[in-house]
């Protein structure tokens, strides 16, 4: 059990408790789970980023009575001190080590799976994929699962479309409140944070070009405007472009915006959003950052191949590319997710919503899995509402409740007034 040194346990505890301060929703669920024990007798295998926030989720699920086995969803994100405290202080089976090689990483997942899960928690469809290919023997015992990311949900929907998926899975990522918290507020804040930390640029009076006006783009654009920047939005989707225009942002094709911007942020989920034809017209010292999932939105490869010179790390996370003609472009975090690389990613408050959603979906699956056909399920509305309510409680915000007459009025088609 465990793969990290016990000596790291104290440090891990500090980190775990620090995160706990900002995770009030999870704390409330934990209290209830301790009383109601909704997960008693269930074995849960989770493949998640082994961080302090995840550790708090594990403790909540254990409070609910689950038998837990945790493996890393990515060896680079594992916090070894968190592994240590979970293993040595709380006695939870954690298969993870920071920087593990591919074979070790596989072995960790295999060991966790071998315990024979009733429920699986996935972040990128790793566990579900293995169960449906190499571990068919374990499938009959599995009652359901939860998926954390967009990428994983895409794969699950593909499996479901081919009728290959053999148990119900909840797409936790798609919950309304999760989208709003994680993307709009989490990515919005942490992206601006990352640009400030890495460059210390004054945004007021500058032109910030935001590529993509989805939830992430809206969050970034609002915050940049809030700091006094003049914001230009680029879009491919007419609905979102119209949303941006109606919010008072200038909307331009990137070819036009490229010459205007002082700071560029890509949050499209697409590729090649900033490329040669844009680099060609950018101002000297333009700052380029990406907060989309993959590092393909800024064509850094082209810059590497065609620049006159490159000065890596002129500040932490800032590479300077010298172009023919003398202009310089500043690329942050090599074009990878700037909010994770140059800041701290989602704040714990965002993960609180995410993981409170996981905990409630696990509870829901434990109660309902027997009645659900295989397939991908949206987060039930009552859980979404419940998540919002938990956050409101934690923030001390009070709201109104419909009385019975109002409820009847809103639900009856006969009632005209």
């Amino acid at each position: 059990m465990g793969t990290a040194e016990e000596s790291l346990s104290d440090q891990g505890l500090l980190r775990l408790v620090w995160a706990q301060r900002a995770m009030p929703a999870l704390a409330q669920i934990s209290e209830r789970f301790e009383r109601t024990r909704p997960l008693a007798g269930l074995r849960i295998v989770a493949a998640l980023h082994v961080t302090a926030e995840t550790a708090n989720l594990m403790l909540v699920l254990r409070a609910g009575g689950a038998d837990l086995h945790l493996a890393a969803a990515n060896p680079l994100s594992t916090q070894d001190d968190v592994v240590a405290v979970l293993a040595h202080r709380y006695g939870i089976d954690v298969q993870a080590r920071r920087g593990a090689d591919r074979a070790t990483y596989d072995q960790h997942l295999e060991r966790a799976l071998a315990t024979g899960p009733h429920l699986v928690l996935d972040d990128g469809c790793d566990l579900v994929g293995r169960l449906h290919t190499t571990h068919l023997d374990l499938l009959p015992a599995v009652r359901g699962g939860c998926e954390q990311t967009t990428t994983g949900v895409l794969r699950l929907r593909a499996m479901s479309a081919e009728s290959a998926l053999r148990f119900p899975v909840v797409a936790v990522n798609d919950s309304g409140i999760q989208q709003s918290f994680a993307n709009r507020h989490g990515t919005g804040q942490s992206t601006v944070d990352a640009i400030l930390r890495s460059t210390n640029v004054l945004l007021a009076g500058r032109t910030v070009v935001v590529a993509g006006f989805g939830n992430c783009g809206k969050g970034v654009a609002d915050r940049a405007r809030g700091l006094g920047a003049s914001v230009i939005v680029t879009e491919v989707d007419p609905t979102r472009a119209l949303e941006a225009a109606m919010a008072g942002f200038q909307v331009l094709p990137m070819c036009d915006a490229a010459a205007e911007g002082d700071v560029f942020v890509t949050v499209t989920g697409s590729r090649g959003v900033l490329a040669e034809r844009h680099f060609a017209v950018m101002k000297d010292n333009a700052i380029l950052a990406n907060s989309g999932h993959f590092d393909l939105e800024i064509d850094v490869a082209w810059l590497r191949a065609h620049c006159v010179d490159v000065h890596p790390e002129i500040r932490p996370h800032v590479d300077e590319y010298l172009l023919a003609g003398g202009r310089r472009l500043l690329v942050l975090a090599e074009g990878r997710l700037v909010n994770l690389a140059a800041a701290e990613g989602h704040p714990p408050a965002v993960m609180d919503v995410s993981y409170a959603g996981q905990a409630l979906c696990v509870e829901w699956l434990a109660a309902n899995a027997g009645t659900l056909a295989p397939g991908v399920y949206d987060v039930p509305t009552e859980i979404d509402d419940g998540l919002a309510m938990l956050q409101l409680d934690a923030m001390g915000v009070r709201i109104d409740t419909l009385d019975t007459a109002q409820e009847a009025y809103l639900t009856s088609w006969r009632n005209g007034g």
Partner: protein
């Protein structure tokens, strides 16, 4: 009133008085500054003996100002300072007075109606300045309350032409309005060669409401031509940083909406000038979801706009692409007819600066454009190529022309300053020379203080130690004179 007023007033329709009175009562509730001044000075009657001529938009809020002045003992005659800004029901209610009836009016002589011609406008200003006497002659006011400086200008130019013994030929005027103005003074000179000289001699001072009027006053003071002391009310913090900013923020989009009902969100709006008025305009347009572009000539204001995240550009760059154009410069010739001809179909053009010379309306027909009246104060101008634009209030203050101007609460701040300035100049006249003054910081703070309760604002009080630490008195003033707020 000491004198029978009989027909000594001219409004659009005196039967509107009852409606006007109801609106005045509503406004009184929203004007806590003026109401508390009435209470404070009820016994002292500091304006007893004052004969005040007012030239200021004849709105419901102004009615509360006028009745505040009379409740402090003043006699008042009034004209509007804009041909479109009068609210006819307010004018009727003021003429009738709180105690009078339309059949038997007992209010203040007011000469104002919405939609005056230029000759009518200047006739009204003149009527407000000429105080009838029992013998059929007239005297003048001993105080002026001005907005834009038209009443003050009439007295000054009148006196100056009388001294010269001749009025410039109206045909040489550079604008239609100036031609009307010179015609009036030509006639006046023929009637009485000392009229304005005598009136000027009796005037103890003027309190001026707005930026444009203040500019004129400083020019007169600079050349030594100012005939009586002036208080610049505009530059009280509780005026320019409130009325100009928050008032315009409120009434600009109100005017645009009432005139056109156009969706502002998603449009590109250009605000010319980023002073206090421009700042309010830009904020309200952005607040409705417009993308706002600012033009400026002053590098400080331009930089302020840029730091607020507005694009700063030139008319030349945006004239063909923007949807809404608002001038707020206080200068002239901002948007010329040739510029308007280049605007896109349906572009909306309006002015919120004091005078109508920011937009070259006169140039439109000269350039062959044709005017189609859509409704009062909304004109479509069709260019020879067939495309058209919308012009609001003929280029005059659109917030007053198309909506009802600033809301009462904001005007309570401005008019409290006006009233206090009138009291200052009238009661301490010896202390003022023929210069332009601003109200003391104490009085400015007093005006602000009078408005806090209504908003539920709880003020913190300095301890003696804290006051000493920053070198102020516990009771204020709290800032040095050069503090910029």
């Amino acid at each position: 009133m000491t004198q029978p007023i009989g027909t000594d007033y001219k409004v659009a329709d005196v039967s509107l008085a009852a409606f006007g009175r109801k609106e005045i009562q509503l406004a009184e509730h929203e004007m806590p500054g003026l109401m508390s001044i009435r209470e404070e000075y009820a016994d002292a009657q500091p304006l007893s003996g004052a004969r005040i001529t007012g030239s200021l938009h004849m709105t419901v809020q102004t009615a509360v100002l006028i009745e505040t002045l009379t409740s402090l003992g003043a006699e008042v005659r009034w004209a509007s300072c804009n041909i479109f800004s009068t609210q006819d029901h307010a004018a009727a209610a003021v003429a009738v007075g709180p105690e009078g009836t339309p059949e038997n009016p007992s209010g203040v002589p007011v000469f104002a109606w919405k939609g005056e011609t230029l000759p009518e406008y200047w006739w009204c200003t003149r009527q407000a300045l000429l105080w009838p006497e029992a013998d059929g002659g007239h005297t003048g006011p001993n105080m002026i309350l001005d907005d834009g400086g038209d009443a003050t200008m009439l007295v000054h130019r009148g006196a100056s032409y009388e001294k010269a013994g001749v009025v410039p030929n109206p045909d040489t005027a550079d604008s239609e309005e100036f031609e009307v103005f010179l015609t009036l003074l030509t006639e006046s000179l023929a009637e009485d060669s000392q009229r304005w000289t005598n009136i000027a001699a009796g005037i103890k001072g003027v309190t001026e409401e707005t930026t444009t009027g203040v500019l004129r006053l400083y020019e007169l003071a600079k050349t030594g031509d100012l005939l009586f002391p002036a208080i610049n009310v505009n530059d009280s913090v509780t005026k320019s940083k409130f009325d100009n900013l928050y008032g315009c923020r409120h009434s600009l989009i109100d005017g645009i909406n009432r005139a056109t009902d156009v969706m502002i969100g998603g449009k590109v709006a250009v605000v010319f000038g980023y002073g206090d008025v421009g700042k309010g305009c830009a904020e309200s347009l952005r607040g409705q979801g417009a993308r706002v572009i600012v033009t400026e000539i002053d590098p400080i204001c331009a930089l302020q706009a840029a730091m607020e995240g507005y694009q700063v550009s030139t008319l030349e760059d945006v004239v063909e692409t923007a949807d809404i154009f608002i001038t707020s410069t206080g200068n002239k010739d901002i948007i010329m007819a040739a510029d308007m001809a280049r605007m896109k179909q349906g572009a909306i053009v309006g002015n919120i600066g004091h005078f109508d010379n920011e937009i070259d309306i006169a140039g439109l027909p000269r350039g062959g454009a044709e005017r189609i009246k859509v409704k009062p104060q909304v004109d479509e101008w069709v260019f020879p190529d067939g495309h058209s634009i919308i012009v609001l209030s003929e280029g005059r203050l659109l917030n007053l022309g198309n909506a009802t101007g600033h809301p009462s609460f904001v005007m309570s701040n401005s008019f409290s300053n006006q009233t206090i300035a009138q009291i200052e100049l009238f009661t301490k006249n010896d202390e003022y020379k023929k210069q332009v003054y601003v109200l003391s910081k104490q009085l400015d703070e007093k005006v602000a203080r009078m408005h806090l309760d209504a908003l539920g604002v709880k003020l913190t009080t300095l301890t003696k130690e804290q006051a000493a630490y920053i070198g102020v008195d516990v009771a204020g003033p709290y800032k040095s004179d050069h503090y910029r707020y």
